[in-house]
Each structure stands twice: as structure tokens, then as C-alpha cells.
Symmetry: C3
Subunit: 273 residues, 3 copies
């Protein structure tokens, strides 16, 4: 199943409109190309709807959020909804400031999202309508573990049910769920958190996966999350003694570029709850 | 001839003012340093003219175009014209939105460009005054091939004649032309399109080449385009089995850093039409 | 001493708020992670103070300065002062335009900086209240050499005395001084100037060092500057024949990731004046 999801991205080469932050934007573009998609970055209100219209999917990321681009996010999101394009939300830092929390909530209110991908603290903030994230990383108190996995899955499914979106909560264990079914994914490596933007990159790639697989949003999202984890592992295995997080960043994108459906299937580690 | 162009960049170390997009800006800065130039990025109307004045050349790139920086592009462009500095336009995504098409046309109207570099769809959009690009990549219907090469060269020369600019159309085959003479360049590798921003990087580097070689704009542009292609080949040859587009990006900039005039001359593959 | 400074960063994992330019922002985030800190980038006036409040330190960098973010810099800087958080200023390009010079001076006027880090031309501009930098690189006329070292140290100490900030002037020889004591640091490699943003990266890392070592600002700044130089050396030693400035950039961040307190102490080359 995951194999097919990946191969559809390479075959259909979905064009993804990204309204995203300026920290990790280059990596988002390169990972989209690596997975077989095609990126276009555009955030001005003067062209946001038009750019969305020529694309297949939309990726909205609120990192380095600023007042100029909020209207663009709303306009592009609504246009994508109107056209039936998949839309993904990455609520970077929701809970860390009122601006981010409120903007994420406003987006949730006015745009129907196909997928919402964040860390557990960000997703809890969206679900609660308020929150206290410590910066852009998940709060350690919120951590998903084997012990609380079932409980967190229940929470994620309920939020998915309520929003009508597939929810992807990523961390040491990833959960990808709709209202009924949750994939718990065990791929990945802790060193991925020593690179800026693995989350943003995953969001961009997931937008490509769901755009290429519109009939299987849940599985496409799970495949993308799993692919990122597998690539984190492959890249880790490739590290030489002098390598650090900068080479690791390159190796992850390289691994996405080289990932085949067969390897993805073979290395995928997940269970369904 | 190309050797001399390259060596002049290393010797004269031209300082280039870049008003550019936030996707590929870091790569543009690093390739400018790699080729022997020096970058400064600045896009605020409060300093655009002043920064242009202390530089040798100006590179205007309309990727991630926004309303705040359009006046800066116009002001810097006019100031550069006034000072006799070379100015390059990279009309990223012209044809993909009215904002980009109209801004590119307005820039063409109000600023005299020394060089315009884009893919064939972008250049056709500028020539026609309207267009339908698919995102930021060239439309496959527009592709330059051995079969239509002569015809496309005619079109490019005519557009060069009309604008008074050297036109660089890059793709599988690159064409660099003024009104009378076209260089058709066969260097490069298809994998270059799997990295974001090889076009932006080439534009930045070309601004350095023409600034260091003001008496030979056509040849300097052809040398820069050829250098980029040669470096794409060298970087490709360097790839190891686990490398992908991220390492390839690094290797291309590395190759620019190490490129000598002798290697450029030796590997250059072009004909003049 | 330097060892302890470095180890405190790894242990305390300071969260740093960065208001910075879009050229080198990704490298700043990755070097913060590499040294053991944690980055958050945010520049909108709607959240600047709130983000500063949840962080331990603030890094203000005026590269690609624009009118939208100047009020955010001032607001965040004042909030950090109020909370007793360390604040660092990187006056990129001060002297190159009135906008940058005046903004840097206004920041100096309204915010108390714990550390100011720049090249010699930028620091001279701040001290003089005006200047003529050539772009974002130091003017060669200003270069710090063994011959003028004592004299420059005097100038730097006087400026430190006047501002109450630790001043870090980086170049071939680095000077880190408060009003009484100057560390002259001889680590580093000339190739570091062939990468964009080694200065910005150093500023971000220094913000982490002083945030993790609030009782030893002078030594923490010297340790950070020394660490960057040592990593420039280690990265240089790692270069293979085909590597250029792009690989070198990665290797420096990798070296920061792998740097131990022991290696830092062992390779540190400095004298105190």
C-alpha cells in the first residue's frame, strides 16, 4: 500500500503551492523535488489564489508567521477548498504565541484541511483552543510513549473526527489518524530533532503524497510520515565519524530522493490502533 | 574567451546587489562567493538605491514576489541604469500569475536590463506580454530541442534585438543571444532540475560575470551559462550511490568554487548560430 | 574555562529568539541546534515580545533589514531587557546604508546589548555613529593585524566601556573585550570568508553561549568565537580535493555539532591584552 502511495507521487509529480516560513523553505522545496513532486513558493495576496489554482495541492505552514501573509493563507486555503485541492496545515509554534495560536484557529475555522501535521503540543493547542508550547518543539510533558499511546490515539482520532481532517502527530512515535483508524509509526531516529525543519519538510512532502493519492488520504499521509522516518534511519546509518547535523540534513533529503516503494514497504514499522 | 571571462570574475571580485526570493537566496549568496564575486542581499525601499550604488551590478529575481519589494526593484533598477551598472532580470514564474507577469513587464518597461535569464516559458511570456507557465518550470510544449533550435534562436535573437538585452534561455539546451549572435550551449545534466534554484543561482553568477566583463556582455553571459552546465556535469560525475539532490546541490556549488578557466574552456560544448 | 562554557550550552539547551535575515537563517537555526541550543525565529510585531518572553536569550541581526521588522527588533529588545535576558546585536552591513547605520544606532540607543558582534568596519561605524562599509564585508583598510592589534584592542575596550556591552570584532584575528580585558583569538581559517553567513552563525551561537553562561559573558563570548574558529579549522582539515565552499559550510556546522569542551580547550589559541 505505502509502495503505491510513493510511486504515485513519482508518477504524477504533483505541483504543490507552499505558503511557508523563510527558515526551512529551501529544504521544503528540495524535499518536494526529492520525493517526485514539484514546488512553488508564493505568499503575496496579489497572487496567492492564482498560484493555488495552477497547483494540485496547498501546504500552509505558520512558522515565521507575519501579518502580511495571513490573508494570503486564508485566501489560498479557501480557493483550494473551492477547487477541491488537498490542503495541509502545519501549525508551527501554535501555543507559543497568541498570534500563532489564533491564526491557526482562524485557519481551522475558515478552511477545510485535508491533513493537519504537527508535534503533540501543537495539536493539543489546536484541540484545546489554547496552549503553552515551549517554542517550536514539543513539550516533554506531552511526549507520546508506548504507555500513553492508546490514550493519545483516542485523542487524535477524536480531533480528526471533529475536524474532518487526517491528523498527523509526529515525534518519537508518530500517529496518523482519521476518525476511525490510527497508524502508529515507529520509524525515525532521535537525531532528526537536531536538524531544523524536519517537520516542515515532512509537511511539504505529505502535501505531495495526498495530492498524488486523493482517494487514500489516510494511507498517503501514513506513507509520507513513514517515508520520512525511514529516510531518517537510512541517513543515520550513512553518517561518518566527522558528520554532524548539517550532513545529516543533506543525507535525509538524499535518502528521500533515492527511496523506492520496495524499501519503504520493507522498512516500515507500524501498527494500527 | 570563456577562460578570460571567468578569470576576470576571480580577479575583480564584483559586488552584486541581489533583490531576490527567500527560497534560494542562501544558494545565490554561496554561488556568488564560489565564483569569485561578493553578494549583498537587500530589498527594502529604504536602502535599495543606496545599496545598489555601492555595488558593481544588480540581480533582480521575482521569485516569491511580494508587494513590498516591487518598488525596491524598480528603484534599484533605475539607480543602476543611472550609474551604468549591469542589471540582470530573472523573471521567475512569469506567466504563472498576473502579479509576476505584470511586474516583469513593468520592470522591462522602466529598467534597461543588461541580461534577462529565464526558462523558455518565462521568456516567451515576456516576449508575448502574457503567458501560461506551469508553476516555475518550463512548459514541456515549449521545450528547446535540436529540431526547433534554429527557430527558437531566431525568436530569442529577435527578443534580444527588441529589448537591447542579452537573453539567456536555459534548459536542456541553453541559448544565449543578442540581436545578432546566439550561443547554443550543450553542457549541463538533467538532474540539475531536481534541485531548487539552479536557475536563480545561475542568474546571480551571471550578474557577477557581466559586472566583471562589461565590454563583453554576450560572451560573459555565455561563459557563465556554460560554467553552470560544466559544474552540473562535474558534480554529477562526483555522485556516490547514496547521494541525491541535496548532495548534488552542494557539489555544484563546490564545483563552481573549484572551476578554473582551463577546465571551463576544455569542457565547454557550444555552437554559434 | 572555555570547556565549561561549551558544556553549559549542551546542558542547559538555551532557547534563543532570533530576529534575523532570510539569507542565513537556516544556517543560524542549524548551528544553534549543533551547539546544543534551540532556535526560534520570529519577527512579527504581533508576537515578538511574547516569543522573547518564552526564550532565554535574543539575537538581533540586521541583515536584509526591512521596515516591517525594525519595530519588532526594538520591542523584543526592550522586553528582553525588562526580563533580564541576554541580547546580542549583529549589525550586518552597518555603514553600508543609512537605514542599517541608523537602525543599528537606534537599537544601541534604546536597547542594552549584552554582546555586539560584527566585523571591524561595522563596529567602527557604530562607534563613530557613521561609516562607509563596502557591502557586508570588512573594509581592507580596517583590517586587524599583529601590528595594530594593541591599538585596536584599545578602541574595542573603549567602545565596550561606553556601551556596557561585550564587543566581539571578528576577522583574521578576533577581539572579544569588555572595558577591561580583551581576548585576542587566533583560531579560524581564511576560507571561512568564502561562505555566506559565518558571522551570522557565530552571532546566533554566541547568543546561546551567553544565555547559558550569564555570569561569564566575556568568557562565554570568547569561548563561542574561539569555538567557531576551531570548527573552521577542523572543517578545513576535512576538505577533500573536490570540496568547495558549500561542503565547507556543512563541515563547519558538523564540527560544531561534534565539538567537545576538551577539543575546544586544546585547540584554542588566544592571548589576553
Amino acid at each position: 500500500m505505502f509502495r503505491e502511495m510513493l510511486e504515485n507521487v513519482r508518477e504524477r509529480c504533483p505541483l504543490i503551492h507552499n505558503i511557508t516560513n523563510y527558515v526551512t523553505v529551501n529544504d521544503c522545496a528540495n524535499i518536494l523535488l526529492a520525493c517526485g513532486g514539484s514546488p512553488i513558493m508564493s505568499d503575496d495576496i496579489g497572487e496567492a489564489e492564482e498560484i493555488t489554482s495552477i497547483c494540485g495541492g496547498l501546504n500552509i505552514n505558520i512558522g515565521t508567521l507575519n501579518s502580511r501573509t495571513i490573508p494570503s493563507m486564508l485566501a489560498a486555503g479557501k480557493k483550494a477548498n473551492e477547487l477541491g485541492h488537498p490542503v495541509l496545515l502545519d501549525p508551527v509554534g501554535a501555543g507559543a504565541s497568541s498570534l500563532r495560536t489564533n491564526t491557526a484557529l482562524k485557519l481551522l475555522d475558515e478552511v477545510r484541511f485535508t491533513v493537519i501535521r504537527g508535534n503533540i503540543s501543537e495539536i493539543k493547542t489546536l484541540a484545546a483552543g489554547s496552549g503553552t508550547t515551549k517554542g517550536v518543539d514539543a513539550d516533554s510533558a506531552d511526549r507520546v510513549t508506548e504507555e500513553n499511546l492508546e490514550q493519545v490515539c483516542g485523542f487524535v482520532k477524536a480531533f480528526a473526527e471533529r475536524t474532518g481532517s487526517v491528523i498527523a502527530v509526529t515525534g518519537a512515535i508518530d500517529i496518523v489518524a482519521d476518525g476511525k483508524k490510527a497508524y502508529c509509526i515507529f520509524n525515525g531516529h532521535p537525531m532528526m530533532s537536531s536538524i531544523t525543519g524536519t517537520g516542515c519538510q515532512l509537511s511539504a512532502m505529505t502535501a505531495a503524497y495526498v495530492t498524488a493519492n486523493p482517494e487514500n488520504v489516510l494511507e498517503a499521509t501514513a506513507a509520507s510520515v513513514c517515508a520520512m522516518g525511514v529516510c531518517g534511519e537510512i541517513a543515520y546509518e550513512r553518517l561518518e565519524p566527522m558528520d554532524g547535523n548539517s550532513s545529516y540534513r543533506n543525507y535525509i533529503i538524499d535518502a528521500v530522493y533515492n527511496l523506492s516503494g520496495g524499501i519503504l514497504e520493507k522498512r516500515a514499522k507500524y501498527k494500527i490502533l
